[in-house]
């Protein structure tokens, strides 16, 4: 295995959570998620020689992962019929989370999946703890625009949680 490959794999190892969470939010099922992960990793590998040190590695990964996910125009119906199980690139079994936490998280994921593609990207970056300035750099919109959008999306997510709590 070459030096470049070693470095690349170690970068992926350190940032695997980003890829997992983004693909999880943009895909409806596991096989789509595995396929999207594969596309993101291929894009990362292709862009890796041109990686510019002036950007943080995470900024570079977020941009590629979000661009690939948003433009991932796949035909879900056909895919479900034709797909064969892919060997997982990333595997997980989160059993240590309490059922209540698990339920809240899956509700949050469900509500995020219902958002429009660009809104979804912004709220993911916000939840990941990135500053407005960093989000603005990744997305290419002004910080004030980021702030306005985040507030609107948060209100919408909170309303969905409240509606769910009232109905249950």
């Amino acid at each position: 295995m070459g030096d470049n490959e070693d470095k690349f794999i170690s970068i992926l190892e350190n940032h695997k959570g980003i890829i997992y969470k983004i693909t999880n939010s943009y895909c409806k099922n596991k096989s789509d998620q595995q396929d999207l992960m594969q596309e993101i990793i291929l894009q990362l590998w292709k862009s890796y020689p041109k990686y510019d040190n002036q950007y943080k590695l995470s900024t570079w990964i977020y941009r590629i992962a979000l661009n690939t996910s948003i433009s991932n125009y796949r035909k879900n119906k056909v895919r479900k019929e034709k797909t064969t199980e892919l060997t997982p690139i990333l595997t997980t079994s989160v059993n240590e989370v309490s059922p209540k936490e698990e339920e809240k998280y899956s509700d949050l994921q469900k509500f995020i999946k219902e958002l429009k593609e660009i809104d979804k990207a912004i709220i993911l970056l916000y939840l990941e703890g990135l500053s407005q300035k960093e989000i603005s750099k990744i997305m290419g919109i002004t910080s004030s625009n980021v702030s306005t959008k985040i507030n609107r999306i948060k209100i919408s997510l909170k309303q969905k949680f409240n509606t769910k709590n009232h109905s249950s």
């Binding site: 695997k16 291929l42 894009q43 990686y51 690139i89 990333l90 998280y105």
Partner: protein
């Protein structure tokens, strides 16, 4: 629900997630050897295929036009001349699209990349609308001048009706094949169900979202 609560839900899962995520290094190693990029390939192949089929077809149209000129066959020259011009315009636009695809880099800002991708897909849609313009000219390409002189009313009348009917059909198709109609119209769904056309609706929706963001920042 407090502001921080959303982040806490996310973080509670994230902490556990980082511990249990396992990266399959063998697969990554295999993938780094892959030369092809599926995502870009999906955009590129329908255009490349159209260009590869379109070039010999357009050359053939030009050849028939040339033969028509030599034989002084007015209708053949006119019909195939127009078809050749429309086909050339389509080919040039498809080549330009390929050039744009090669320029798009996923490492750039999300909004810029998504705008370029969405505009590219919508440009493909407009290329198809240009292609439709050639339909009525197929009907006059076969008209014989001698037959027209001999039977101006019957032969000429039938051909005129066919030409007018095809012109009206083309006009109707051109008017109805708009991005807004792709979702509702059965004709659009029938014509635009190929691999190149699946992304059109999503591209249109992404552009609308981006416009929303631009409008927001201009306020």
């Amino acid at each position: 629900m407090k502001d921080t609560e959303l982040m806490n839900i996310w973080k509670s899962y994230e902490d556990k997630l980082d511990q249990v995520l396992t990266l399959n290094k063998e697969i990554i190693h295999e993938m780094t050897k892959e030369k092809m990029n599926k995502n870009i390939l999906r955009l590129r192949w329908p255009k490349t295929a159209t260009i590869l089929i379109g070039i010999p077809f357009t050359l053939l149209c030009y050849f028939i036009t040339f033969v028509g000129v030599k034989a002084q066959a007015v209708f053949v020259t006119f019909g195939f001349g127009i078809i050749s011009i429309v086909m050339s315009a389509m080919l040039i636009s498809y080549m330009y699209h390929l050039y744009l695809i090669n320029k798009i880099s996923c490492t750039e800002k999300v909004m810029d990349v998504q705008k370029a991708l969405a505009e590219l897909k919508i440009a493909s849609f407009h290329s198809t609308r240009i292609a439709i313009i050639q339909i009525p000219f197929w009907s006059i390409s076969w008209v014989s001048y001698n037959a027209l002189v001999q039977s101006p009313y019957l032969y000429g009348g039938i051909n005129l009706i066919v030409f007018l009917a095809m012109s009206y059909f083309t006009y109707w198709l051109y008017q109805n094949l708009t991005i807004r109609n792709v979702e509702d119209s059965k004709v659009s769904q029938f014509l635009f169900s190929g691999p190149e056309w699946e992304p059109i609706l999503k591209a249109s929706s992404i552009l609308e979202q981006l416009d929303g963001y631009e409008a927001n920042s201009n306020r």
